[in-house]
């Protein structure tokens, strides 16, 4: 189904969901992100690619202020979500993370039941009026995560007992359950086998109709398959950003071209 992925998929003119201006990130004295400017459209899958250590995860974690949990990390510059600066003093990072969900590299279900994993966010944020309401939210999230059919008979079995691919879809469902507007995914398939990977990729493609998805990946095929926009990072710089089809077929920067053709990486 991915035969001719990039060229056919039309990227409609869309509003900007996230816009970053002059973002710098430091870990102590290490300058990890250098002056990055980017506009991420809504209801699109945007891929961050680049050699490892180039700062993809670091920049991704700026978008929901997860870097706040690292003591030595310092972020400068402005990042707007729907036109509001998320680094403003008045913004509560905890509230922000409910709006900007995150899925991690290694599936990290809590050591609780499948049901409680999904219900975790809605419970914390008081999204359910009563038990029936919560049941409905859980079911909807699991359906959204394309895992409902596999787990509907064992909602009270531990989430850690699922296979790796199921765990990752459970984590996606868990993130979806808090009704975020943006979903950040940091190499969500790197711990999965090819079949689980293609299931997750299919899911990401479906999520596009409701959410803005930003995905970090080290696999260029994956970026080409799932994304409409691609950003190439190198040594902390955002080297090139544009439509996925254009980046892969007609890169403007020589570094992008070398990376895509496998000469740096």
């Amino acid at each position: 189904m991915y035969d001719n992925p990039n060229l056919e998929r039309k990227v409609a003119q869309q509003d900007t969901k996230i816009s970053a201006r002059n973002v710098q990130v430091f870990y102590g004295d290490t300058h990890a992100i250098k002056d990055v400017n980017i506009e991420i459209p809504s209801r699109t899958v945007t891929a961050f690619i680049g050699p490892s250590g180039c700062g993809k995860s670091t920049f991704l974690r700026c978008l929901n202020r997860m870097n706040d949990t690292i003591d030595i990390c310092r972020v400068e510059g402005d990042i707007d979500l729907d036109g509001e600066n998320i680094y403003d003093k008045r913004v509560d990072p905890v509230q922000l993370r409910a709006k900007v969900g995150m899925v991690f590299q290694k599936p990290n279900p809590f050591p609780k039941s499948i049901y409680d994993n999904i219900a975790y966010g809605p419970r914390i944020h008081g999204l359910a009026k009563n038990k029936a309401d919560l049941d409905e939210i859980v079911e909807k999230a699991l359906r959204r995560g394309a895992i409902w059919n596999e787990v509907k008979d064992r909602l009270h079995a531990p989430g850690t007992g699922l296979s790796g691919g199921q765990q990752q879809r459970l984590c996606i469902a868990r993130a979806v359950a808090t009704e975020p507007e943006v979903l950040l995914m940091d190499e969500p398939c790197s711990a999965l086998d090819p079949i689980a990977t293609s299931q997750v990729e299919e899911l990401i493609d479906e999520l596009r109709d409701q959410y803005s998805v930003v995905i970090v990946t080290h696999s260029m095929q994956q970026a080409a398959r799932v994304s409409q926009k691609t950003a190439f990072f190198h040594l902390g710089n955002l080297v090139e950003y544009g439509d996925t089809g254009q980046i892969f077929t007609n890169p403007q920067d020589s570094r992008t071209e070398s990376y895509i053709t496998g000469r740096i990486g």
Binding site: V94, Q95, L96, A98, N108, F110, P111, Y120, I124, C171
Partner: protein, 490 residues
Amino acid sequence: MPPLWLVLIVLALGVVGYVLGRQKAMTSADGDSRHLHSLPVYYGTNVSLFVVLPALLVMVCWLIVQPILINNSVAGQIPASAIPDSGTLGLVMSDVRRVADGLDLAVSQGAMTGAEAGALQAGATDVRQLLADVGVALGSDVTETTLSAAQSFRSKSATGNLVMTVVVLALAVAGFVYSYGRTNKDFRARNVVEKVIRGILILAASIAILTTVGIVLSLVFNTIEFFKLYPAADFFFGTTWSPSFGGGSELGVLPLLWGTLYISVIALAVAVPIGLFAAIYLSEYAGPKARGIAKPLIEVLAGIPTIVYGLFALLTVGPLLVNTFGDGGALGVDWMSGASSVTTAGLVMGIMLIPFVSSLSDDIINAVPQAMRDGSFGLGATKSETVKQVVLPAALPGIVGAILLAASRAIGETMIVVLGAGAAARLSMNPLEAMTTVTAKIVSQLTGDADFASPEALVAFALGMTLFVMTLGLNVLALYIVRKYREQYE
């Protein structure tokens, strides 16, 4: 030859063996260590291990066994008629050893020659006076039986020591000849040394295990002895504890167990919340700086000897409680008469257990993978929500294990109880009353001058056994839980 000299000689031989062994290996490789199978050190070490180890091992065994054998054979010489009505064979034998030691001392100080000492006659010389002159005071005049037994004791010891010296030196030399003979450039000295070191380590481990087994066996046998004199049912189900050394004691364990459990529960009620919260603060909230200061400070508490805690209970906490709950105290009630009480001991013991609970829980909380916290923060949870709903549930089994370990320490604690809880065995609910525990009663049963064969003294072993079974059970349960928890993230 005194044993110390013998040890030094053997060690010196070992050093010589090291040098020679190394030299021989080097010579056989034409002075080029690359032709050797092993590094030169191994050849030296090999020889010196063979010189030292067998010799010293035999010497240690000999020193343990010889006195037992000589004691038995000399004791066999003493006729039953020579044992006074009020005493036992053991008392006579200790007299014999004293006289023998005294004679040794007299000889070494030059008061007489060895031959004279062997020829002494109780009738002819005043042995008591003679020994008093060299500084050994005896309780009574030395009888002929004692003197001759002492003389035979001395001569047997002398023969034994001589034989031992010869055997040990012979072994050292034999070890040298054997291992030196084997040394050449193709000899796998490294492998041999490896095996010997393994043997030494196994020996150390088995000594530890055998000691444990020995202690348990002695507990078991003495407990059985006690139950022959005192009915087990009365011990386990009796509600009165009133030992009287004249006989007719009531030795029911229930009041003691009640005291032990009551005090432990209070101690845990203090230690678990404080320790756990401290651990949560240290591992989840404190920055590296605060952690670097606070963690060692809390752990200092663990280094304070329990007797100091006991003093704290007796002199500070007890009076403080009396000033609050006692007659004319701050609350205007009269609930507490003396400073010793279950609460006093429980509070102080709880303070003692805080670092124990907190450092164990800290380790367990730190073992919860960071990915769990990230997952929770990523969903918009706050720190305390994350701790309460993700970290603690994940760490719970381990924390339960830590609490059980703390409980078993509380049950075995003695000094704080002796000083803080009082000595009265009581079955009461009032936490401001003095009570006592199993451990405190073991101390008091053995520190009197009771006959060791009486039930009043032997009961200490039954109490010890009871404690041992309780704490062992708790420890096994705790280790089981902790281990099960460890597998969870693998």
